[in-house]
């Protein structure tokens, strides 16, 4: 698993773009060899922190594409600040990444 992110200062707003590595199984697909349904498995929540404070959070269902992409804008962080991004999936697996505002 991995989380990649870019945070870029545009005027007084920071544009954050994040890519999370995850299969995002819908629970609707059928395994071609066994004929059994592949159970749903997806990221449920992802949160962005700045100085330990939550600045943005998202809830995902299985309809978000494989390797989810997320883009959002926040006001407050300055160039050089670090944003911490954390995700958790439906099996309770967590992942995280730090990005520096450029």
């Amino acid at each position: 698993m991995a989380i990649k992110g870019k945070a870029k200062m545009l005027g007084d707003v920071v544009q954050v773009k994040v890519l999370m590595k995850h299969v995002m199984e819908t629970g609707l697909r059928v395994d071609a060899t066994t004929g059994e349904k592949i159970p749903a498995y997806h990221i449920t929540e992802a949160t962005c922190f700045w100085n330990g404070e939550e600045v943005f959070r998202t809830n995902f269902g299985p309809a978000v594409s494989k390797n989810p992409y997320l883009s959002f804008k926040i006001k407050g962080p300055q160039v050089g600040d670090t944003l911490n991004f954390t995700s958790i999936d439906s099996k309770g697996e967590t992942d995280s990444g730090d990005f520096i505002v450029k």
Binding site: M24, A63, V64, F72
Partner: protein, 151 residues
């Protein structure tokens, strides 16, 4: 991060840091809105999430392709000039469970989000914006074609 490369002291201080974080687990991972994600209709999911019936608004800007290049990755952008937005959510009418994602905005956040979603068939995509106790929506159709060739 490779823990084996860290000195014992660094590792310990890391665990101490993680420990400090773990006292606020509810803030880290608030409850995933299961009932909304399990709803089978857009309006049911909206009322599960926000306890409100939606109203259409041209102040909600929903950008989706008219024809999806690929149903597995449909780019969606939602933005609005409405003030004090607390939450934005995206729905695919034709999916078995329409709610795809919700975005919870803190006062730091600007009401402009983008993601990529899966669509099984041609259907309406709905964006909902929750602000000051009201739910505003915008709807647009996205055509999804099924691939013929392409190895």
């Amino acid at each position: 991060m490779n823990l084996t490369n860290l000195s014992r002291r660094t590792a310990l201080s890391w665990f101490a840091y993680l420990g400090a974080l773990s006292v606020i687990p509810s803030q880290l991972f608030a409850a995933w809105p299961k009932d909304a994600f399990n709803s089978e209709a857009v309006n049911d999911a909206i009322s599960e999430l926000y306890g409100q019936a939606p109203q259409d608004s041209d102040r909600v800007k929903l950008k989706v392709p008219e024809i999806a290049e690929n149903g597995a990755v449909v780019p969606v952008t939602v933005s609005t000039a409405i003030e004090d937005v607390e939450s934005i959510s995206v729905y695919v009418e034709g999916n078995p469970n329409p709610l795809a994602a919700t975005f919870e905005l803190t006062p730091y956040a600007v009401a402009s989000v983008a993601t990529r979603i899966k669509m099984g068939e041609t259907s309406n995509v709905v964006a909902a914006v929750y602000a000051s106790g009201n739910v505003y929506t915008a709807t647009q159709e996205v055509k999804v074609t099924i691939g013929g060739c392409g190895g």
